[in-house]
Symmetry: C2
Subunit: 122 residues, 2 copies
């Protein structure tokens, strides 16, 4: 049901999963390695589920090696997020001048088309 990007954002909306990703940013790890920091707080099946979410989100790939499942970061998911973010760069880079200039051009267009936006009073 959900599009890929939604799945990716959804996967990142959990501190445990982000921590697992941070762990993997240091290199490959198998499931029990990833689980270790969390086994005081949750069970191993919970970790398996989190990993599956990360996989489906395109953030992690899991392979097999005997009974182990080495995991590593999959850059695809991160790239999708980074690409989406790009369109908002001017907002989070506090370049106020460029932002105001940009918004001014948009507003100018609206005026031409006679759009009475949120501009009606004051």
């Amino acid at each position: 049901m959900p599009d890929q990007l939604s799945q990716t954002f959804s996967a990142l909306a959990d501190p445990t999963r982000r921590a697992m990703l941070a762990h993997l940013s240091k290199g490959e790890a198998n499931v029990s390695d990833l689980a270790k920091p969390f086994l005081k707080d949750m069970s191993l099946p919970a970790i398996t589920k989190h990993l599956k979410v990360l996989e489906k989100a395109g953030l992690v790939t899991k392979t097999r090696e005997a009974q182990w499942r080495p995991c590593k970061i999959n850059s695809e998911g991160l790239k999708d997020v980074a690409d989406w973010m790009e369109q908002y760069r001017m907002f989070w880079e506090e370049s106020f001048d460029r932002l105001e200039a940009y918004l001014k051009t948009v507003t100018a267009n609206d005026k031409k088309k006679g759009k009475k936006n949120a501009k009606k009073s004051k």
Copy 2:
């Protein structure tokens, strides 16, 4: 659930909310302006709820002007995401050389402990 970054990612994990944000990237808009493209698919209260999610996530700020509620993008939330993303830049920028070099330094530590592929734990 309670940490800010999770809330922000969670807010972005919905195509309707991302579309509303895209709309707001063109300038301020009232609730009904934002709702218009979606009123075939969902009710106005649904939009109100989506907006509230975006607000709590620090992605949108809503003010009052008579009976209207002009909304605009709040860069704080976007900045939080962008900052978090930074630590993974080397992955989604396919600079394979640097990535491999980096991972090699991390793996070198493991090799000292005799790890071939993250094989052991304990």
